[in-house]
């Protein structure tokens, strides 16, 4: 059976995992040893590198999830290989995105406590991160309650697609909501080259880790469905 071969195959997962590990170690080295300690905020400023790295990647993964939903719906919810892959990728990107969002929402207040003297402010970027996080928690809840059959898949894809323009509107509304000051105070002021290097390395490292997780989760989801199909087939044969 050709479906047997797909089970237990690793693909590029392990290689990517090794790359990601190396990238995280290098980024950590750059953050703590190359980038200088920021003058006014001190050591706490080093949260910034992974915090913003996670935030950027969260947005990237949520956008990917929306695009996956769009492709799935354009294909008309067929049971073909591409539709199935795109759907599994949608689950994986949403789950990784929610994980990154949790990191952002935990590290953000720690940073804010030191930088602004308060655990939480309704600063536009924080608010945006919170709302988008909630939107994709709803996506995962939807998937959990509507199942992974055709119905659940297309409903979730629909939510992800509506989420794309909603992201834009939420972004705009949140920027203006705080008052008549749309200009956001930039958090870092990355003028020192060491800081820039550490920042870009962190973004890259988080991206590699997220990609590894998403890839493994996609494979796992596809294999789980294969196993389900095989089980149903066996079950049907037994009843013959």
């Amino acid at each position: 059976m050709k479906s047997d071969k797909a089970i237990g195959k690793f693909g590029p997962g392990p290689l990517l995992a090794i790359l990601a590990t190396a990238a995280v170690l290098i980024a950590l080295y750059a953050v703590f040893f190359i980038a200088p300690v920021e003058a006014t905020m001190g050591i706490v400023q080093k949260i910034f590198y992974f915090h913003v790295g996670c935030a950027i990647n969260m947005m990237v993964f949520f956008s990917l999830c929306g695009i996956c939903g769009l492709i799935y719906l354009i294909m008309g919810g067929s049971r073909g290989r591409v539709a199935s892959f795109v759907d599994a990728l949608g689950v994986a990107t949403a789950e990784v995105g929610v994980t990154l969002g949790a990191v952002v929402l935990v590290t953000g207040p720690i940073w804010a406590r030191k930088a602004w003297g308060t655990w939480w402010t309704w600063e536009p970027r924080l608010t945006l991160a919170l709302l988008v996080f909630l939107l994709f928690l709803a996506y995962l809840a939807l998937r959990a309650f509507t199942g992974s059959e055709r119905f659940g898949r297309s409903v979730a894809a629909g939510l992800a697609v509506v989420g794309l323009p909603a992201l834009y509107f939420i972004h705009f509304a949140v920027q203006r909501w705080g008052g008549a000051h749309p200009q956001v105070v930039y958090k870092g002021g990355l003028t020192v080259p060491g800081m820039k290097l550490a920042f870009f390395l962190s973004v890259l490292a988080v991206m590699l880790v997220s990609a590894t997780l998403a890839l493994i989760r996609t494979q796992q989801e596809l294999q789980a469905r294969l196993v389900d199909d095989m089980f149903l087939k066996l079950d049907a044969e037994e009843w013959k």
Partner: protein
């Protein structure tokens, strides 16, 4: 041209059907209106009454009431179609899906507006809310409700057969509707004369943009979703 008139006629027929049924059963309006009334009473006990600050929390009370009551309407919106499989019968007719969606959304819009006509004056009365710019208030309610109806109708149709639909629907729609609430509260705050350093027209345009974009997106998605 002929096609357009036929779509408009289908739209009118479905709306008339829904309004007739609603008029005879009051299945949607009655729970919606009663629920919003109860919310207003709850709100009057939930806040320490401070007449000097009514402009600060008044807009919030109006919009939370509208949002919650419209959710009650969304939950019931496709119940009649689900029972006896009437939606499939409707889809089997040559009526265009766009007309079906638009008619259902328009129905929800009308029911919610009707509820607002009852509730919002009551809020103004109970909380002694001054309204120096009534036209702005009406504009924000109409444009905001349109957004609520579009998103609500789409997900109500999508989740029609889902388990725990009543719980899932607000979970899914509230994050998407957050911009509507933000803009609605802002414009309403301006309408009641609160100290907000912004102009109402920007937020009204924002609401109009939301309605237009999601009008197209929900229409296209409804067509796609109902097929699968």
């Amino acid at each position: 041209m002929h096609e357009l008139t036929s779509i408009l006629r289908q739209f009118a027929v479905i709306i008339r059907k829904d309004l007739t049924m609603e008029f005879r059963t009051r299945d949607i309006l009655y729970p919606m209106a009663l629920f919003s009334l109860l919310l207003v009473v709850v709100f009057s006990f939930a806040f320490l009454s401070d007449p000097t600050r009514v402009r600060d929390y008044g807009p919030g009370i109006i919009w939370v009431t509208v949002l919650f009551a419209s959710t009650v309407g969304q939950n019931r919106l496709f119940d009649r179609e689900r029972e006896n499989g009437c939606l499939w019968a409707m889809l089997l007719t040559p009526a265009s899906r766009g007309a079906i969606f638009a008619a259902k959304a328009a129905g929800h819009f009308m029911f919610t507006l009707f509820m607002e006509v009852l509730t919002v004056p009551l809020i103004i009365l109970f909380f002694d809310l001054p309204v120096p710019h009534p036209a702005t208030l009406v504009a924000s309610l109409v444009l905001g409700t349109m957004g609520l109806s579009l998103i609500g109708t789409l997900f109500s149709a999508m989740l029609m057969n889902a388990r725990m639909k009543e719980v899932l629907l607000p979970l899914v729609t509230f994050p998407i509707l957050m911009p509507v609430i933000i803009a609605g509260v802002k414009v309403t705050a301006l309408a009641v004369g609160a100290q907000v350093a912004e102009d109402a027209s920007m937020w009204l345009k924002f609401l109009l943009g939301f309605d237009m974009i999601f009008g197209v997106v929900t229409l296209l998605l409804f067509d796609r979703m109902i097929r699968s």
